[in-house]
Each structure stands twice: as structure tokens, then as C-alpha cells.
Amino acid sequence: MEASGQNTKEMRLQEALRETLRYEMARDPRVFVMGEDVALFGGAYGVTRGLLQEFGEGRVRDTPISEAAIVGLAAGAAINGLRPVVEIQFCDLLPLCMDQLVTHAARYHYMTGGRISVPLVVRNKYGTRPGGGPSHSSCNHGAFIPFPGLKIIAPTTPADAKGLLLSAIRDPNPVLCFEGHLLYGVKGPVPEGDYTVPIGKAAIRRPGKDLTIVTCGGMVLTVDQVAQKLGEKGVAVEIVDLRSLAPLDTETILASVAKTKRAMIVDEGPVIGGLVAELVAVIQEHLFSDLKGPVARVGAAPIPPPHSGPLVDAMIPSVERIEAEALRIIGA
């Protein structure tokens, strides 16, 4: 399981994903990769580079621009015994394959009385940034949690990227993997060999006694900066990196908040509905009388992701905004 004494190698998150695909494709002939530009070009973000050469056209396929069929064919292949890993170029395109994913693939195991399962991984990129704009830089990772039958992961570190993706490929259920646009290039140590991180387990990125901040993906790095600055001001922040958005690791979250008695949710996505609201709801449900104040939430402003830099800066939680909010609820 977790990296215990395993040798590690320093690499980018993008490489960690690639190594994981190579590793599992070599180990399990049922695994194959399909998506737009994934074969000859190696993927819009280079994650699948080299796989075509290593595993051939049968198992590494460029597809037409047909998101619904990419996910639908993958589900069909999964039903018939394979382990597809498909790439959807960015999360803004998930609505195009949403019917196949949430109404069919995700419900199939339950609705067939458990006779059929759909081991399917849908990788996609997310993240609002200057130049992306309204159709290319959404953060809808939090919007899929109301749909039963879907597992959702969002790795922050290269090690988790490997461990979670490997777990996802081996999971008998559909797993949606959100990869942060700005995280692909981030380096970190990655355990070699067979390394998995269980889906549904969060990680404490930083221990602290005064305030719990629950977040995920790229925001973990932003929040870590906040924690450092607050540390200098004598406020000890505990950071919970969700890693899995569905199922949520409420145990770890609640244990942390039970200790700090103050909680704040920070996310790149909208605070309305979805993940952020769910975290607030769960915490107040279980720890209402322990809490020193309401659970705070800091997230993206409720607007479509804009193109221009200043507009994006105003939309996405900044170190300053998060710190100010943290100080406010600490009452410092």
C-alpha cells in the first residue's frame, strides 16, 4: 500500500501518470488507452507519450472527436472484459459524455443486480487559468459527486498520481480522474514498482491544531503557502488533501476538525452545491457542537471561467484571500 521503504524516483506528475500506464499495460494485457491525440502525439499533455511505440496500435488508439462514444465504447469494452483508460482532453468536455458516464456506466453494476461491472478510468484535465476561457478551463470536479456509482480521484503529488491511478485501473468501477493543469509539471518522489494509494483515503499534508483546511488538487499547494504564512503568525493549520472526492474520507476529515474545532473548505471550483457544500454539510452534521464557528468556504466566484488574466485572478482563491478568510474565522 502506502510507500513504505519503497525506492523512490524524482519525476513530474505527468511522468508519474505515464509510468503508471506503462507499468500496468505491461502487467495486464486487458489495459488499453484511447482518446484524442493520445497515440501518435502522446496526448495533449504528453501523458501517453511513447505508449503507441511500446504497445502498438491495438492498445493505444487515437480517436475521432467523439467524447460520448469514447466513454461509451470504453464502457462496452470494460463490460466485455477489458480495462480501458480513456483521456478526455479537459473537464469542460465531460458534459458531452456525461450520459454515458453517470446514467449508464456508473449505474450498470447496481442496475444489473451486480451481474456486470464496468472497470473504466476516465482521465481528464481541469483548472481555471488565464487564456483558457469559458470552454477550456472549468473546474467541475465537484459537480459529479451527487451521482452514485462513480468514484472520483484528484491527485496532488506525483506519488499520489501513480498510486491513485493504479488503484483506479484496478478498481472494478468507473473512476473519474481529475488532473490539475498546473500540476502536470510539478516534481516529486514517486515510489517504484507496484505502488497503490487506496481510493477513498485523504492525506494530512500538514499537521496543525488551530484550523483544518480541507482542499484538493492544485489548491493544496496554494493552501500550503497560506499555512506557512499563518504559521509565522502563530496559527497552526492542518491541511487535509482529499485525494478522493468520491467516496469522501469523512473519517479523516472529521477527526481533524474534531481536533482543531475550526474548519474551512478551499477549492478551485464553485462553492455552490457540489463538493464544497457537501464538505460543509458533513462537518456541521457531525461536529456541530464541537465547532467554534461556522465552516467557512472559499472557492471560485460563480462565473464562467474567463479568458483574461485579471478576471481569472479575481475568480480563483488566492493566497491572500484564503489567508484573510482564515484569520477572520480564527478571530485573529
Binding site: 491495438g58 465504447l73 462496452g76 466485455n80 477489458l82 442496475m111 444489473t112 443486480g113 451481474r115
Partner: protein, 321 residues
């Protein structure tokens, strides 16, 4: 061409399919079911003809009007009827009803109530067969209305591109619910669309079981030999309303309905067999009685079978493996 014994089997299947539909309608009218039915009466030659051409390992995907396909592919009638009735012994434990089942033990990839939604599943199953080289082919049954769903277009394009071993069987019964074909498409034959995906499309008489068998066999051979997909548009008609409660006459002329009932696919095969001295009226009556008797027996057992317990099965949403 099938030999006499096989053709009689095909006839027996058609009778069984119809007997099942009529029993379902019974049960619906007697309020013995949850939800409704989508009667397959009138289209029996397609399910029977297609499935007669398949090898045991071959796969089918179905749709809302799917019970006929399941019976023809060899589903267990008790489990099937129980599922239609929302009983615990049903294929889906009562969770899915007639529109939501799946069981690979008899090559059934599944069906859903979303028009066109299983077309990519069948296509993807064929992709798996190609990647693995396992030799099975997949049948994608769909109605004429499904031809206008985006994901069906996307799937057929990929099947043509990769020469996947899949056969698209479009059961063109001239109506999508209450909307007639002329109000849905501007093309004369839906089969023409196959050309845009780089494979062959044929429009055939879907009430001629022998013909459906022949064309499916050809397409299946082609698919197994790596020749890629085929679209078979089978012209047919549903005798009954769209669903249990629909008389089917608000948007269809009575004459039209009668005309098509005159083209009864069962009677057609029966008469051909009798004309060829391969069947007697007596044989036919025996077959019929046997089929309806079997349904009676299965139905009485299903009616007496338990409903699922009233509990939210939250632990069964995810597969554990």
C-alpha cells in the same frame, strides 16, 4: 439457408417471443407489474432471425423494446419475467425492470431505457473482441429513432474506422413513439447513412425471418473475417401501442395497423414451412400450445415469487470484485 429443423426452431423462438409479450401485456393489464411494457409483437422475425445466426459466444445489446431479443437469445424466462415484474428473483433483483438488465452468461451486454445508449456498449464490446482477438461479434439492436442520437453517430463512425466486428440491427417500425419516420428524418432509407461511416448498409424486409437470418449470417461472417460492421435496416411494424397504456391509434391509421398485421412474420414462416412440407398445422398448434403453456407456468411461478425487501441497497452500488 437453415435446414428444416433449424427453421422450425426459429419459428418456435418467434412463437415464444410473442407468447412472452402477450403474457406481459396480460400482467400489465392486471396491474401485476410496476411500470409498463413495450410490446415486441410484430417484430419477432428480427430477434429470432438475428439470434439464429449467432454463435454461442456472440453478444447482443438491446434497448427499451428488448424482451424479444432476450427471449430469442436464450434468457431464462422466469428470471426475465420476474425482472419485468420487479421481483427479487429477476435478472436485476427487481432494480432494473424490463429496460435495465444485463447478463453475460448468455451473451447479453444489457439494455437501458435511454434511446441509443447501448449502441456504444455493443460497439465497445466489439472493440474488446478485436483487441483481444477473441473472435466474438456483437449485435447492436436499436429502433429507428436511435439513428438520430449523437452517440450512435459517433459509435458507428468509430466502428467503420476500426472495422469492428459489430452489426447494427435497426428495427425500423416506422415510428419513434408517436413521431413517424417522415417526421424524424429526410432520408428514404436509414441504411444509407452507413455509407457515411464507410461500411455497408442494407434495407431488408424485417418480417421475413429467413431473410433476416441470411443477411445476419453474411454480415457476421464478414465481421469475423475482419471486414468490419454492417448496418441492417429491418423494415417492420409494432402491432401494439408504444407502451402498455397506449392504444397506438392516435398517431397511426387503423388500416395501416391492419395491413401490417397481415404481414404477420410468424404466419409467414409457418406457411413457408407448410408449403415446403416441413411443418403441419398440427405441428404448429403443438408448438404454440407448448410455448403458451410454458409461459403460463413461468408466470404463475413469477407471480408467486417475492418482491425485494424494502431496503436501500447502498452497499451494492459499487462492485467489490
Amino acid at each position: 439457408m437453415l435446414d428444416p429443423i433449424q427453421r422450425k426452431e426459429m419459428l418456435r423462438t418467434m412463437i415464444k417471443v410473442r407468447a412472452f409479450e402477450e403474457k406481459l401485456t396480460d400482467l400489465y393489464q392486471n396491474k401485476a407489474m410496476f411500470g409498463s411494457t413495450h410490446s415486441y409483437r410484430g417484430q419477432e422475425a428480427i430477434a429470432a432471425g438475428v439470434c439464429a445466426a449467432l454463435a454461442p459466444g456472440d453478444l447482443i445489446a438491446s434497448y427499451h423494446r428488448g424482451t424479444g431479443h432476450l427471449v430469442a437469445k436464450g434468457a431464462d424466462l422466469y428470471k426475465l419475467l420476474c425482472e419485468c415484474m420487479g421481483r427479487a428473483d429477476g435478472y436485476s433483483k427487481g432494480r432494473g425492470g424490463k429496460m435495465h438488465m444485463g447478463d453475460l452468461s448468455f451473451g447479453f451486454l444489457g439494455n437501458t431505457g435511454t434511446v441509443g445508449a447501448t449502441v456504444p456498449f455493443a460497439t465497445g464490446a466489439a472493440l474488446a473482441a478485436q483487441i483481444r482477438g477473441s473472435g466474438e461479434i456483437a449485435i447492436s439492436f436499436m429502433g429507428d429513432g436511435a439513428m438520430n442520437q449523437g452517440v450512435v453517430h459517433e459509435s458507428m463512425n468509430m466502428a467503420g474506422l476500426w472495422k469492428l466486428p459489430v452489426i447494427y440491427v435497426v428495427e425500423n417500425n416506422l415510428y419513434a413513439m408517436t413521431v413517424s419516420l417522415e417526421k424524424s428524418v429526410a432520408v428514404k432509407h436509414l441504411a444509407e447513412r452507413a455509407a457515411g461511416y464507410g461500411f455497408e448498409g442494407k434495407t431488408i424486409d424485417g418480417n421475413d425471418a429467413d431473410l433476416v437470418y441470411e443477411e445476419t449470417s453474411k454480415a457476421a461472417d464478414k465481421a469475423r473475417r475482419g471486414g468490419g460492421p454492417t448496418l441492417l435496416e429491418c423494415l417492420t411494424y409494432r402491432w401494439d401501442g408504444h407502451f402498455g397504456g397506449d392504444p397506438g391509434t392516435a398517431y397511426r391509421k387503423r388500416e395501416e395497423i391492419e395491413q401490417w398485421k397481415g404481414r404477420d412474420p410468424i404466419r409467414r414462416l409457418k406457411e413457408k414451412l407448410i408449403a415446403g412440407n416441413e411443418l403441419t398445422e398440427a405441428d404448429f398448434d403443438k408448438m404454440s400450445k407448448a410455448a403458451y403453456a410454458e409461459l403460463e407456468e413461468v408466470a404463475s411461478k413469477a407471480v408467486a415469487s417475492p418482491l425485494p425487501a424494502a431496503k436501500a441497497e447502498v452497499d451494492d452500488v459499487f462492485a467489490r470484485e
